[in-house]
Symmetry: C2
Subunit: 302 residues, 2 copies
Amino acid sequence: MSILVVGSVAYDTVETPFGRAERVLGGSASFFSVAASFFTPVNLVGVVGHDFGERQLAAFHGRPIDLEGLERMEGQTFHWQGRYSLDLNSRDTVCTDLNVFEFFQPKIPARYRDSEVVFLGNIDPVLQRQVLEQVERPRLVACDTMNFWIHGKPDELRKTLGKVQILLVNDQEARELSGEWNLVKAAAAIRAMGPRTLVVKKGEHGVLMFGDAGSFAAPALPLEVVFDPTGAGDTFAGGFLGYLASTGQEGDAALRRAVIMGSTLATFCVEAFSLDRLLRLTRPEIDERYRAFERLTRFESL
Amino acid sequence: MSILVVGSVAYDTVETPFGRAERVLGGSASFFSVAASFFTPVNLVGVVGHDFGERQLAAFHGRPIDLEGLERMEGQTFHWQGRYSLDLNSRDTVCTDLNVFEFFQPKIPARYRDSEVVFLGNIDPVLQRQVLEQVERPRLVACDTMNFWIHGKPDELRKTLGKVQILLVNDQEARELSGEWNLVKAAAAIRAMGPRTLVVKKGEHGVLMFGDAGSFAAPALPLEVVFDPTGAGDTFAGGFLGYLASTGQEGDAALRRAVIMGSTLATFCVEAFSLDRLLRLTRPEIDERYRAFERLTRFESL
């Protein structure tokens, strides 16, 4: 079952304690699409400028990623520049040049309109809703957002959340969206806004999922080297939703496996700059690391 | 198999956003002993002042906790006063009156000297070693420590760690003890100091255990209400080591179950001030919450 994803395709300039990467491929839709493409075909909707050429597109080639929805606009591609702290646990945005992304009006190609699974990347909630309106019968809609929209367009975001089955946010976003510091209370408040399932990403502390069948906690794999965390959240979302779509299931057991699969993909993402590690990743490597999560978490009943 | 525990027995004055408790029973050995006593007999070594009477001792009565090693000294009992932040994630120490604890010289009663399992609570590493020297053939020694000793007596602490099989510390302590920010690297460095098993307590983010058989990650149970975190770490240690001693096993599978049992006991500890919740806890409640950890963490293989 293919996924329609809408989000950013960007150039990232990233500084970590280990080095610097200049204008490398980034953007939520890029990380999401490559991660999801290991499991299911992806239809990508986004926008790039005239400075985004064949070399950059090569990252998506040879994978089940359809680029008809990737619009080419006059102007420069979205560029984000960030600098990480020594412990990689925080980052400063040095600059955000929206460029063509500022004028992004998602247009869904006719071929994509029967998509049953949709991922609304972190864009204006008004645009997120415009995407949904162009899709005929979305069966499963997952969504990301950020503090900029939580505080800047709270009413629009609420309207979008009313049409979403799964929300993926980090712990800070969950707190700000709900106004509750306690994550159990935050989850109850957010689930009352629409999404039956809330996935809270806690970075090095793993993932908490709240749903009708109760809660699920997945730890992060303890990693000796984190090279660049950029894109880890979007990669998680791609692995999560790509795997879920591939199963054709939506129950608690499938959702739990999907959380582990998302976590698995994210551990690879952080091993290198940009999509470098994801682009040379193989399915046997993925399955082996999924099993590492099993070994990490298993314990016997009393 | 009984456990010998040495540590503090204290009065705590605690302020949380939910209320204040004045001079209630606290101290590492108190929380540890009550938690461990659900699984195995405990021999308690500590010191109290003449202001610590029968009413306070009642907490230990009716349980397999031997108090011959609880010395009564002229003077006041150790008193700690702390104030928690609104989110309960940090606390300030308002005052620490060591009182008789300042002069504590652990004396191990003859009946305790054949103890096979020993827990060295967070006291001067010199005293921790003096305890071990009074025990004939300790088979399994677990140990706690804190930043005060990590920075104040690093050489003495190293000597003690050379005689310890299991070290339990929080993530910040693991980082400071090892000088490594990354917990995987920190664990390798600490395990090279002696303890084959390192248990890192991360509060609301759960527990990481590093050992010969690999790593184990246990999440914290997402709790809607945390009333008072005081003693949660010592309660974890008591549940962990008490359960482990009761199995007579030391392998990876038993250690993993022990981590979950420690986490289980800790979730009860934080529901009320002091030992109030632990003192009315039942074994069926413990087993039911252990199963809640199973439900929280289970996922299928691919």
